[in-house]
Amino acid sequence: MELNIHFRKINNVLSVFIEGEIDTFTAPKLREKLESIVISQERLIELDLSKVTYMDSTGLGVFVALYKNVTRENGNLKLVGLTARIKRLFNITGLSELMNIEVGAKVE
């Protein structure tokens, strides 16, 4: 499998674990999964990208779409566990200025 996505819900935090490569082939699957998320003001949506081994602009596009939806619904979105490579992509595109991003090791 080139991309795996699974959800874990603890209280008001919905964690989304994304594993593998995000490109034009796998992005539709990711988009579909993320679009199924119920957004609410009380809930924090946390995307764990620590196991994303590759990502390009198609992945950024998917996250921007989710970010727009979440913001529109007054929800909360956080990206966590970004590797240096993935963080760099958010930096050079200016997205790290807009989105709530946390770098570093995730707690297993």
Binding site: E2, E21, D23, T24, F25, Y54, D56, S57, T58, L60, G61, V62, V64, A65, Y67, K68, T71, R72, R85, L89, I92, T93, G94, L95, E97, L98
Partner: protein, 156 residues
């Protein structure tokens, strides 16, 4: 003796082959002597170029091939991505791409169009010819200090 080795790969313009090209180019870049971070940059740039063709050039017919040509020098890699489909106006598209502005409103945020921007940012040189189909030509040089660093890491 030729100054470079030339490798050409032809694939159908379908999303499932983008990762195959990414892997192949990554292997070729390793041969030239690029280091990890540069190879990762090249992987993104080639994926963006091929993805552009897959998404735009063949929207109508769904038939068509992409040809990827790769010239390997001692100090650089040249990559050519070409299709035989619809051409697009590079300058026009270029006006609409670029990084996000910190103060842009949420609704203004584009969900696409970062591909060309990333190619230009991650490679040393990017040229696009759209006269007959689309041809993207990209170059990346091996950084000298990184070559030294590479020698060190190999022995350690």
């Amino acid at each position: 003796m030729k100054a470079f080795d030339y490798i050409e790969i032809r694939i159908p313009a379908k999303p499932q082959y983008v990762s195959v090209i990414r892997l192949a180019i990554s292997g070729l870049a390793t041969r030239v002597g690029f280091l990890y971070d540069q190879i990762e940059d090249i992987k993104i740039a080639i994926s963006e170029a091929v993805t552009n063709v897959v998404q735009h050039a063949y929207e109508e017919s769904e038939q068509g091939d992409i040809v990827i040509g790769c010239a390997l020098y001692t100090d650089k890699i040249e990559i050519l991505v070409t299709d035989f489909g619809n051409s697009f106006d590079f300058e026009e598209i270029k006006k609409e791409v670029g990084p996000y502005e910190p103060n842009s409103s949420i609704t203004q945020l584009r969900e696409g169009g970062l591909g060309l921007f990333l190619m230009e940012t991650l490679m040393d040189e990017v040229k696009v010819n759209s006269e007959n189909g689309v041809t993207v030509f990209m170059t990346k040089f091996v950084k000298r200090e990184q070559v030294k660093h590479r020698d060190q890491t190999i022995t350690s």
